[in-house]
């Protein structure tokens, strides 16, 4: 499987993401720059974390209007898998590829720590290598990860099983409604999550709970 990583000014987790994809897929991802209007033929596009465009206006708002994101939207409409992590998740909600919004953490503080996640739906392209309800470890590092959706949208995504990761065991770090940490699109090919699975993929990271997410997406058997 071939992958691509979107690069935008102000992102800072791109290197970690490229390293994770290279280690897990055995092949370096192609990179896509902010002004690129076309994305090569790949199976998976990843938007990494960071602070694109300095978080000006709203986190992810400027990035979501760049040519590269229009190209991502075109690919997503054709069924290509897309993962947005942290700022990447914020960009996906700002671009309308995922429902809801990500607001300032209720603590008003930047949180950088490890949390527990429950796999709320193990029947997606991105989570099939996890067990249903499995609790995994994952680091978070963000200031604006407080997921919000209006009551109607929330009922819809909960009913459709679009909530795929929830903060577990009282570790919700940001006040997200229903402890939501990650969601997929209604068609299931776009995933956004605030935690950083790319930072927990090998023994040197202190654990590898994040690895199965990428292996699921890349079609690597558990």
């Amino acid at each position: 499987m071939k992958s691509a990583v979107v690069l935008l000014p102000g992102l800072n987790r791109d290197r970690d993401m490229i390293a994770a994809l290279t280690k897990i897929s055995g092949k370096a991802p192609v990179t896509v720059w902010e002004t690129d209007t076309e994305i090569p033929d790949v199976d998976l596009i990843v938007i990494p974390g960071g602070f694109s465009y300095g978080d000006y206006l709203r986190c992810g708002a400027i990035a979501a209007r760049m040519p590269a994101l229009r190209a991502v939207a075109e690919k997503a409409a054709k069924g290509v898998m897309v993962i947005g992590v942290c700022n990447g998740f914020q960009i996906l909600v700002e671009s309308g590829l995922l429902p809801g919004a990500l607001m300032r953490n209720t603590s008003l503080k930047f949180v950088c720590r490890e949390v527990k996640l429950q796999v709320a739906n193990a029947n997606t392209t991105f989570t099939r290598n996890y067990q249903p309800g499995q609790i995994i470890r994952c680091p978070v590092a963000h200031h604006d990860g407080n997921y919000f959706a209006d009551a109607e949208t929330l009922a819809r995504i909960e009913g459709n099983g679009q909530v795929v990761f929830r903060y577990a065991e009282g570790t919700n770090p940001n006040g997200s409604i229903n402890d939501i940490a990650g969601i997929v699109s209604d068609k299931g090919n776009v995933l956004g999550l605030m935690p950083h699975p790319e930072n927990l993929i090998e023994a040197a990271h202190g654990g590898s709970d994040g690895r199965a997410l990428f292996e699921s997406a890349l079609g690597i058997a558990a």
């Binding site: 209007r65 700002e94 809801g100 919004a101 300032r104 209720t106 008003l108 209006d150």
Partner: protein
């Protein structure tokens, strides 16, 4: 030249932790009358245009496409 002001505010029912923090700080300064604070944003724009009706339509489009996130925010446009 048309000058305009766009005001973006959080929708009712959307939690505003920053507004809450400001509310508490005002209370701490002795302003006991403060019941609640909601924080928003103001944009002052200068448009190279003369047609006010078109300018207003353009400003609303700018709000829908970028200045406001209509999932969580309302906006209002005033032309001065």
């Amino acid at each position: 030249m048309i000058k305009a002001r766009v005001t973006v505010t959080l929708k009712n029912g959307v939690l505003d932790p920053q507004g809450k923090a400001i509310e508490h700080a005002l209370g701490g300064l002795g302003f006991g009358s403060v019941g609640s604070v909601r924080q928003g944003k103001v944009f002052d724009l200068e448009l190279n245009a003369t047609d006010k009706a078109k300018a207003e339509a353009d400003l609303k489009a700018m709000c829908d496409k970028l200045l406001a996130n209509t999932v969580i925010e309302n906006y209002s446009v005033s032309i001065t």
